[in-house]
Symmetry: C2
Subunit: 238 residues, 2 copies
DNA sequence: CGCAGCTTTGAGAATCCTCAACTATTGTGG
DNA sequence: CCACAATAGTTGAGGATTCTCAAAGCTGCG
């Protein structure tokens, strides 16, 4: 757990085989570790960045910002996720990356990543694959917003988070370590904060989840999946 | 206009400079041209493909398919768009690619694309950049579905299509060459067909557009942008 | 203790959906 | 070229979901 990219490489290898030298080249990358409070913008909209952000602790989100200042969170990133890998290809951001909880992250320089590509083209493919998985999740989320009700959307989000957090040990016994406010859930789900409250309450009253200020405990994962019309295969884009 | 990848390379060069040899390498790629009727699946969900689809004529869409058979169109592709470029990195599709109108397209073999990468790493970066632009548009669309009403969504879609179709000469005088049915608009906008009708009618009655069976004429592009809260910068991810 | 941020609650209204019919257009086989 | 079928567009009534606005109760922190 000592090298900056340790968690990221571990996650990458779930989808894509790396040989010893490729893994070593990635782990050799050095990066500055930064700790920030909630609401900090890791990347501001329109900014041109020279590094990608690797989340080490906490939760970050990608936010589209409208002209009138309203925000919409279009993707969510947990420990081990490189939230801005796209920026290696396109350094000018069209969105903001924001800390949704207190966060620790590494600023991984683009040059360091591109330098690895030179010697190890297979690594470039692995990273491209990672951005495709990200795009794939977003395509799924478009369909969720298009077709599902607030109740179904929340269920879908929780199932997805349970899977992703379990993979990095942040969901022991179905207790999801997500200290988000109802306003933040509203920006994620595309509904109003008031309705977030009522939706959580209904799922709780139906015995599916037990939300609290710092986490959400999933009591009935099967029921949640059924409500969400969750497709078990879409996250496993191997 | 003779080589299969001509339109694609032209579009690619709007965002990313290619030198003479790189351009030649791409244009040298050979591909089978296929013509299909509306509703044909270029790619079926779950299928593992050996080629990417380059739209030459007509409109194709990426569709997420739910377990209950309902579909949601999460992206739309016009002439010059490589709708399945992701598949080079991840050959197993999590979605369907469907012909929304009668279509002509090229099946561009993955090996041919990967072979170009070997000699010209800059081309790999250009293509990666293209998939990032695609992901960027999808992130924007997530925010549109999250935050905008049916009227605003339709306006946003039409503004985006006007820009993209103009770039390939398919929107003379603001007359967008989109022969989609109201059911198809419904799958794109995440609303019901009935509501698509009423939304089109309202925009027409307000003098903003003049829809007909084969096209949509944009009468008031400025007004449409205002309604859509459209951000002029997001498509130009250079 | 008091303030700031978050959650909980309620009433009324807007948007969008469901269902069901009817009309218009396009395509097809005779 | 006609008759019919299939597909697509139009219309209405009633209802469900979600929003808006407003206020009151918590909780944690300085």
């Amino acid at each position: 757990m000592d090298r900056p990219l340790t968690k990221f490489v571990r996650r990458l290898e779930l989808r894509h085989a790396l040989d010893e030298r490729e893994r070593a080249a990635l782990l050799a990358i050095d990066a500055r570790r930064v700790e920030r409070k909630r609401r900090w913008d890791l990347v501001k909209p329109g900014e041109t960045v020279g590094f990608a952000c690797l989340v080490d602790d906490g939760i970050a989100g990608r936010a589209e910002v409208f002209a009138d200042g309203r925000r919409s969170t279009t993707a969510i990133y947990v420990a081990g996720d490189m939230c801005d890998l796209h920026s290696v290809a396109v350094p000018k951001a069209g969105w903001a990356i924001t800390a949704l909880t207190d966060c620790a992250y590494y600023e991984v320089p683009h040059e360091a990543i591109l330098a690895v590509f030179d010697g190890f083209p297979n690594v470039a493919l692995a990273l491209w694959r990672d951005t495709v998985a990200d795009a794939s999740a977003m395509s799924k989320w478009v369909s969720v917003l298009s077709r599902l009700s607030a109740r179904e959307r929340l269920a879908h989000l929780l199932v997805e988070l349970q899977i992703r957090l379990s993979a990095v040990g942040l969901a022991p016994d179905g207790d999801l370590d997500i200290a988000l406010t109802q306003d933040q859930f509203a920006e994620l789900l595309g509904i109003t904060p008031t309705h977030v409250y009522r939706t959580f309450r209904d799922l709780r009253d139906d015995g599916l989840i037990l939300p609290d200020r710092a986490s959400v405990r999933v009591l009935d994962p099967i029921g949640l999946r059924r409500i969400a019309k969750f497709d078990d295969h879409y996250l496993l884009t191997h």
